[in-house]
């Protein structure tokens, strides 16, 4: 399979690029919701428009009313979300949430997927426990109680946690914290008794929760997949979230780079356009090279994931690490090359820097994925 978009994908990219620039732009969405201090951090009307565009059900099976597309297609949407810094629940809901629900019972899919596809339901994913992403260790416990489970513990960095109609929680149903087995995924409805949120606004203006589960009673129907066999599902959710975040980062990096090269072509100092200075030209050309490489490895990993390749897991980590490093370089160079105005809230380049930081941390930073690459490679 060639590493460029096929005809259908190119058409999708065309329409999503226009849609996101028109409807998801920085002024209309990110700045608007930020400046009115919106409790969700995103607009539900836009989420509805996502549905009308057919984006919310991209990954869902046709039998569930979805389009049965893959991560290449989801990545097209995420790259444009990144380029426009569009706040939306697309990644946690339509990518990670839907991926989790693919392994769920008919009943559970029927309960949540129609709302997701209609753009009315938001999902969040609760995996992290602590400030760093370490999903190998899961201490949050769901103990058997009656016909169901009682969930106790805490989760951090639950993006859109307070906006979500359901939170997909990775909990331990047996064994000790670091065991691979003994993990179960639950779709926990927001109105379940015993859920406590400490919602905080993050540096990029998104809202994430520290969630506490105080003996939340769950019946058996909330279990996704097999009890104690949730690690396999979790791994799929992680891969989906990681490659999705990497795709979004290529958009963030690309957007920052486009702003920066435009600035180099318009800002004058010493009687010259600053883009005439070779010191800046070489840094811009290096950054271009890195962005191209990041995009290439992201589409490679997406294709491998869609094709069910045994190399997918490795390449997803390679892509997440590479995209994070490159996007970080893009926003740092962006702010520096903008000079003083790069430090102002008025200019958008700083917003790219903020989003990059949040995305890098989401589902494992570059060091975490470098460690994984070493381990998966056998050293």
């Amino acid at each position: 399979m060639p590493l460029y978009y096929n005809e259908d994908q190119a058409m999708l990219a065309d329409s999503v690029t226009g849609f996101m620039a028109d409807e998801g732009g920085i002024k209309k969405q990110l700045r608007h919701w930020r400046d009115i201090n919106c409790k969700d951090g995103f607009g539900h009307a836009l989420w509805k428009q996502f549905a009308e565009m057919g984006l919310t059900g991209m990954l869902a099976a046709e039998a569930d009313g979805g389009l049965a597309m893959g991560h290449v297609e989801a990545g097209i949407v995420l790259a444009e979300i990144g380029r426009n810094l569009t706040p939306s629940p697309f990644l946690t809901t339509a990518v990670m949430g839907v991926t989790a629900l693919k392994d769920a019972s008919d009943e559970l899919r029927g309960r949540w997927l129609p709302g997701v596809i209609a753009g009315e339901t938001v999902l969040a994913v609760a995996i992290d426990e602590g400030a760093k992403h370490r999903p190998e260790k899961i201490a949050c416990r769901a103990e058997r109680a009656g016909n169901g489970f009682r969930l106790t513990g805490a989760k951090d960095f639950v993006v859109h946690g307070t906006s979500a109609d359901a939170i997909i929680v990775a909990a331990r149903t047996s064994g000790s914290d670091s065991d691979a087995d003994g993990v179960t995924l639950f779709a926990v409805p927001k109105d379940a008794a015993g859920i406590g949120h400490n919602a905080v606004r993050l540096v990029d203006s998104s809202i994430a929760s520290h969630v506490r589960f105080d003996g939340v009673e769950l019946d058996g129907s909330t279990v996704i997949g097999e009890v104690d066999g949730g690690r396999a599902v979790l791994n799929k959710v992680l891969s989906a979230g990681r490659i999705g975040a990497a795709a979004e980062q290529t958009g963030v990096g690309g957007g920052a780079f486009a702003m920066t090269t435009t600035y180099l072509k318009t800002r004058k100092q010493f009687g010259k356009l600053i883009g005439e200075f070779q010191a800046l030209q070489h840094r811009a050309a290096h950054l271009y090279s890195e962005l191209e490489i990041a995009e290439a490895v992201v589409i490679k990993a997406q294709q491998l994931l869609d094709g069910g390749s045994e190399r997918a897991e490795l390449m997803v980590s390679v892509a997440k690490a590479k995209a994070a490093r490159v996007c970080n370089l893009a926003v740092r160079e962006g702010v520096q090359m903008h000079g003083g105005v790069g430090m102002t809230d008025e200019y958008d380049i700083g917003l790219y820097m903020k989003r990059e930081r949040a995305l890098t941390e989401f589902m494992g930073d570059a060091n975490y994925h470098a460690e994984r690459v070493a381990q998966l490679s056998g050293y």
Binding site: P2, L3, Y4, T261, L264, K265, K272, L273, G275, E276, Q278, Q281, H282, A284, A285, H286, Y288, S289, E290, E292, I293, A294, A296, V297, I299, K300, A301, L314, M315, V318, A319, A321, K322, H369, A370, E371, V373, A374, S377, G378, Y379
Partner: protein
């Protein structure tokens, strides 16, 4: 089964049946490569056999037309060929500047007669080519070259000097940039082909810091070149030269499976490595190597269908060579004092240190990294005044 799946199965079976076991082991340095040519001494019977059996099927240049010695594969088939060769661990049956550099230029600018004659020789491994580009005063500023061809009616008389001519002392023919009009800088250069045994051609190897001499100084003293041996139009050789440089840069970049795209962490840590900092550097390198391999694959896919930016080979060359230099810095670091040995059995005659030093030329030859960045800034980013 789709046509491509059938094709893959056939290619796989053919490689399985025809590639000698010895040719499925990694190449050990430049001396171990099959270069072909009049004076080439095969390192083994297997090497000769593998080249010949491939040449007979057009597989030394699988995507060239059959009429010019190729197998006429389309981009999808050529990709399958590369994938199956990699899968089998099979060496390229023939490597040459004729394949990588002159071939693409002739396919675009050559006459039908030139294509049939010269490309066929390249495909069969009969003639080994070298490249006469750089001169002592014309390195990065290549277009200032002074080697001059005086018009003598049905031939030119060429005088001047080239430098950094790779394997000039081993090559049979040269493709050479020669000034044919002193009044016009860019449109005063012609692209000439001539036999290295022509009277007046002499070569002198240059000893490098690696101890080997892959490059030569090449001198032309009243060398007679018939007018039929020009590629493209008179005084428009710079167009051919630039086009060819794109392919040279693509080749040096390692796109499509060069050494720089392979990971090193696993190999270097197999005997244990009590150095967590180095391990972290290896992981960071492996990430960049795997990412660049994907870039190489994407670049080759795109270039075949005209989707790649025409200046993209410059980016590839920059990224690939910088990566390869880093690779060898890590190989040296992991090797410790053993890797310092300049002459020993254990290091196969100082292979690690010699290869490490050789890679320093990667970001100089074929256009320096700095020139590559200039080209990207100007032609791709369209920055002002670049």
């Amino acid at each position: 089964m789709s046509d491509l799946e059938t094709f893959r199965a056939e290619i796989r079976a053919w490689i399985e049946a025809n590639c000698p076991e010895e040719m499925r082991r990694p190449v050990q340095g430049e001396d171990d490569i099959c270069w072909g040519g009049r004076n080439f001494v095969f390192k083994s019977a297997a090497q000769k056999q593998w080249m010949e059996v491939c040449a007979a099927k057009g597989y030394t240049v699988p995507d060239w037309p059959v009429a010019y010695g190729g197998a006429g594969m389309n981009p999808a088939e050529a990709k399958i060929w590369r994938e199956e060769m990699t899968r089998a661990g099979a060496r390229p049956p023939l490597s040459s500047f004729g394949i990588w550099m002159l071939g693409p230029a002739l396919l675009k600018f050559g006459t039908e007669e030139q294509k049939v004659h010269y490309l066929g020789q390249v495909a069969r491994g009969e003639i080994r080519w070298c490249q006469g580009y750089s001169e002592p005063g014309s390195g990065s500023d290549l277009v200032s070259l002074q080697t001059y061809g005086e018009d003598k009616g049905d031939h030119w008389v060429v005088n001047g000097q080239k430098i950094w001519t790779s394997y000039a002392d081993k090559a049979d023919w040269i493709f050479c940039l020669v000034r044919t009009d002193k009044t016009n800088v860019y449109q005063g250069i012609s692209f000439l082909l001539f036999d290295m045994t022509t009277p007046g051609v002499t070569t002198k190897p240059i000893k490098l810091i690696s101890g080997s001499s892959p490059f030569c100084e090449t001198f032309f003293d009243n060398v007679v070149v018939p007018k039929s041996q020009i590629v493209g139009q008179l005084n428009r050789g710079w167009d051919v030269a630039k086009y060819l440089l794109g392919h040279e840069r693509e080749m040096i970049s390692g796109a499509g499976g060069g050494e720089q795209t392979s990971t090193i962490g696993k190999v270097l840590t197999r005997n244990g490595l009590d150095d967590p900092m180095l391990r972290a550097e290896l992981a960071a390198f492996d990430i960049d190597a795997l990412a660049f391999a994907a870039m190489g694959e994407k670049f080759l896919d795109e270039i075949k269908v005209g989707k790649a930016h025409p200046a993209q080979p410059n980016m590839m060359k920059y990224a690939g060579t910088e990566l390869n230099k880093r690779r060898h810095e890590l190989l040296m670091a992991a090797g410790g004092s053993t890797a310092l040995e300049w002459e020993s059995e254990e290091t196969r005659g100082g292979a690690p240190s010699r290869s490490w030093l050789r890679t320093k030329a990667n970001s100089i030859e074929g256009g320096t990294s700095e020139v590559m960045l200039n080209v990207v800034a100007k032609r791709i980013l369209e920055l002002p005044g670049a």
